[in-house]
């Protein structure tokens, strides 16, 4: 018996959460007007001069902006592709394991890095990749010269992608494993009776069975092509590798909070927010239409 008088209680329940969103999400959205100002902290939003599109103009004229944009796109895309492929192969292998103890043991280990922050993982990586670190010990052991991994523009992106895979591949297999268990086992039995070998069953049952999941993940990842991994890069980079590793988010952080160019940083951030928002909206619409996926 749902009572009409319940409705005001529903509003009341939502009130605290909505209030927090208004203060900490909506008010900052209004703050984007700074992007069109020559913002001076001493004058505030109301008395700073309006400069129109000048901040945006300046941003496009910056010699670095091309590099930063390309870095962001290429790092993020590499992470998306490798970050989907590795868990896929890993899940297929894990699926073949019949010994449940071994399976659970491997899962326990590979999920762990997901729960560690980038601060911790970067602390470990900096140790590992330092000149005296274990990686360079092996490099020298095989007769190579020690490599300054974190100071090398040719290595930096490799490290970003590899360490991102290290942190997330185990956890990202969960979704594939869930999809694998939903494949009808009768199909495997029928195929075996028809004489299909292991590889043929993989090719004709398992992979087609995973295809909807892969398509869904690929579609949703569209919203991430501007997210190259702020926390990771902030903790691993240094001025020597800005050329290969500086991304939009790290640039906004430095320009805004370290160099106090509020107007410029807000303009760059705003542009990223808008493009990201559009990309996510498009990816959700595609996912809803083609994969019948809805998060709410």
């Amino acid at each position: 018996m749902n009572n009409r008088s319940f409705i005001r209680h529903y509003h009341a329940m939502l009130l605290p959460g909505i209030a927090f969103l208004l203060v900490f999400s909506v008010i900052p959205m209004l703050g984007i007007v700074i992007a069109f100002q020559d913002y001076q902290p001493t004058l505030g939003i109301f008395r700073s001069d309006w400069v129109g599109w000048e901040n945006f103009q300046y941003m496009f004229d910056l010699p670095d902006s091309r590099t930063i944009f390309i870095n962001t796109l290429s790092i993020a895309s590499l992470k998306i592709v490798v970050g989907m492929a590795v868990p896929f192969v890993f899940a297929l292998m894990l699926h073949e394991v019949m010994n449940m103890k071994f399976k659970r043991f491997v899962q326990t280990i590979v999920y762990l890095p997901h729960f560690m922050s980038w601060v911790i993982l970067s602390g470990i990586l900096i140790n590992l990749l330092s000149l005296e670190g274990i990686v360079n010990q092996f490099v020298q052991w095989f007769g190579g010269h020690e490599i300054m991994f974190l100071q090398s523009n040719s290595w930096f992106r490799v490290i970003l992608v590899a360490s991102d895979v290290w942190k997330e591949f185990g956890f990202n297999t969960i979704i594939y494993i869930a999809a694998l268990t939903s494949i009808n086992t009768n199909l495997y039995e029928a195929a075996a009776i028809d004489g299909a070998n292991r590889f043929q069953r993989l090719l004709h049952i398992t992979i087609p069975g995973l295809l909807p999941t892969i398509i869904l993940l690929a579609t949703l990842s569209l919203g991430n092509v501007l997210n190259a991994g702020f926390e990771q890069i902030l903790n691993l980079y240094n001025p020597v590798v800005y050329q290969s590793g500086d991304i939009i988010d790290t640039y906004v952080y430095r320009a805004g909070l370290l160099e106090i160019q509020y107007g410029l940083a807000t303009a760059v951030g705003l542009l990223k927010s808008i493009v990201s928002f559009l990309l996510i909206a498009v990816s959700y619409m595609l996912a809803a239409r083609f994969a019948n996926y809805r998060i709410f």
């Binding site: 529903y10 969103l21 005296e132 292991r198 927010s273």
Partner: protein, 293 residues
Amino acid sequence: MIRGSSRSVDWTIYLILSLIAFFSMAPILNTLAISFSGKIPAMSGQVYFWPVEFNLSAYESIIRDRNFFISFGVSIERVLLGGAINFVITVLMAYPLSKSAKLFPGRNVYMWFVIFCMLFNGGLIPWYMTIYSLGLLDSIWALVLPTAVPVFNVILLMNFFKGIPKELEEAANMDGAGPWRTLAVIFVPISLPALATVTLFSIVGHWNAFFDGMILMQHKENWPLQTYIQQLIISVNSIMNTTDPEEIKRLTNMSSQLLNSAKVMVSMVPILLIYPFLQKYFVSGIVLGAVKE
């Protein structure tokens, strides 16, 4: 499932998986071994996966490091306070949003508002300035109030609530229970696994956050632990404006690898303690949130 007789394929898969598991753990094991080693072997790269010249000096110096414990305390405070706020807000928002638009006109407006807040943001600078103008800098509230609404958790719990049979709620209403009582007596008790999942999500999120502590806390004694570690270990790397090996060696040695390893290990402990629960509930939570139609 019927298996082929290809034993060698099986063995290859077991071998590859074992290697992958080993390489996933190797960085952590190496750091652990260094943290228990002597100063000289730790600095000169003689430690692999077993401590060399075993000793506890790094851990002893952590015990004497007052700032480390202050930051550890800030992190604990943040997790407890932030986790509690997240919990209350999540439950209170998920319940009305799980109602259909017919039962709760306005539900969809709220829903779109929440989704919009999740997907669009004003960027770093306006966000920082909002918190600054509210006078929250250097206060624990700056770490727990801006993150008070975990939208993803709200959606997760809302989907879970939607799956609870309507008859239960109707029966409660017949007995005279209003929405608050129904939520507290019916919905919360039967949603314990889902609540455990979202609570763990927010605990891990609060424990691992470092960036807000870094820009919103100007005084050392207000840093949460992750910020403390970030500032003392990572920032040495991030200012290295050189490719000269000697200079890099000098800078690296300034921040003691031995001590840093021990600090990294200690800050992992709380996550390791709740790891069995994390594994159990996160997995079910991810699947719950992901395969929802």
